[in-house]
Amino acid sequence: MACSPCHLNAATGRASVAAAMGGLVVWAWLGAIAAGPALADEIAVVASPEVVRPELLKVIARRQSESRRLSGAMRVIGRFLKGEGANVSDVGAAAEIIRAVGGQFNHDLFPEGTAVGVGRSAARQEVWQEWDIFKERSAALQTAAGRLVTAAATGNAEAVRAPIVAVGQACGSCHELFRRRVP
């Protein structure tokens, strides 16, 4: 058979009984090996306490309280979309908060040395490795929130739909790349 580690041209489309038996034998010895430890793409490395400066821990705490303001605002928007009591002007107020928090995504709130492993940080190293993308995406959040502020000011419930989607996408695009994946 012509083999590379990836391509074994050993079997035909329909599994013959012989191939199946062969497979099962190999499978048996593989079983023990296969049940191994998990591979996580990021395992929190806890920095030794003397390295972590207390002011960085304070920044992380402030960052997370700002994040909670964001999610609080998004919760209002969610209630509006679900018809659970929030109206268009509530959406406008929420958008103002989102725009304001989005404007703080800079080195003051994300100083070097505050990645996953430091305190309760959920910010992946990629924030600093891909700082330009991080800034681009936080700018996109501000822009989208600004449009939502404008749309909400018209009082038109239909007009806010598209900017809400844009805000949600901006949140997701940042979380996808920059927030810790392993709980």
Binding site: P5, L8, D41, L70, M74, G172
Partner: protein, 306 residues
């Protein structure tokens, strides 16, 4: 046979010419739907619902669309997704339609290579033939990428493929998916979207020692899914699953990634929302919610805080 007078015959021919003229003109002017274009459009929708783009594009490293090469880490080692662009040498441009169907239905590549279940053929096997062929028609219209697929980097490079024939006999329930006549059309559509196209259970189900989904605990979550992520319990268990989520909550998650607590999902699910669930029709999202809400509630271990 009917006798036709000369003027009658002339009239018939004239009518035929007129009908043909209208037909061809409309056909070329786009007034009449072009069946091939319709197939490609339907295939594009299947492509999004089946979430092909994310795995088969190495977006993080600027890889070309469908050129493959994205790394997926697992207990078994690191997989590198293959090139599925229509390039005849490096992609799947040279595959016949039947080879394409076989890959999705049976997990065997055009050259006979045993595909590994990191490619979710255990879900795609449930697809309708027509959907597979429409997907194929769409893939043919994509840009070829001349990039060789990278071999996987597995802990047991030889064994995994050798065991696949036996594995498939034990674990592959060959499709297509049957319609359940006792359920509504919406539930059946949801089942098809969740189980066949969306392959949600691939991440959101625990797996046994052979890497197969534990069917009895399907959709009850997996704390150590691909890339080490936590894929939560999707069943309506009120404590550990989605039992306290309303249908509207689930709709917002699928459309925007927005959770009831105001957080927006990150990680792999953000990508799924971006490439797949947000692009579905609202009716299809509704069908998914209907199906998930009707799953038997299963308890799972405590979900760690986000």
């Amino acid at each position: 046979m009917m006798n036709l007078s000369r003027p009658g015959l002339v009239l018939m021919v004239a009518a035929l010419v007129a009908v043909l003229g209208v037909w061809t003109e409309a056909g070329y002017a786009g007034g009449r739907p072009d069946p091939q274009a319709e197939r490609v459009a339907r295939g594009g929708y299947i492509f999004e619902a089946a979430g092909c783009l994310g795995c088969h594009t190495d977006e993080a490293h600027g890889g070309q669309r469908l050129g493959g090469g994205r790394a997926i880490s697992s207990d078994y080692g690191t997989f590198y997704t293959p090139n599925i662009s229509p390039d005849p040498i490096y992609g799947i441009g040279g595959w016949s339609d039947s080879a394409f169907i076989r890959a999705l239905r049976h997990g065997v590549s055009a050259d006979g290579t045993q595909l590994l279940p990191v490619f979710p053929f255990t879900a795609y096997t449930l697809m309708d033939n027509q959907d597979i062929l429409d997907l194929r028609a769409y893939l043919r219209t994509q840009k070829p990428v001349a990039r060789q697929s990278r071999p996987h980097d597995l802990r047991e490079p030889w064994g995994f493929r050798l065991m696949m024939p036996g594995w498939r006999i034990l674990y592959l329930g060959v499709g297509p998916l049957d319609t359940n006549p006792l359920r509504t059309a919406q539930w059946n559509r949801g089942q098809y979207l969740v189980r066949a196209l969306g392959h949600c259970g691939e991440c959101h189900s625990p797996r046994d020692w052979a890497g197969a989904i534990e069917e009895s605990r399907a959709f009850s979550g997996n704390l150590n899914s691909l890339n080490g992520e936590n894929a939560p319990n999707l069943t309506p268990d009120p404590e550990t699953g989605l039992g306290r989520w309303s249908e509207a909550d689930l709709m917002l998650l699928l459309e925007l990634g927005l959770r009831p607590d105001g957080d927006v999902v990150g990680g792999s699910m953000a990508e799924i929302v971006r490439n797949s669930t947000s692009r579905l029709t609202p009716g299809d999202r509704r069908a998914i919610v209907t199906y998930l809400k009707a799953l038997p509630p299963l308890r799972a271990g405590p979900v760690p805080p986000n």
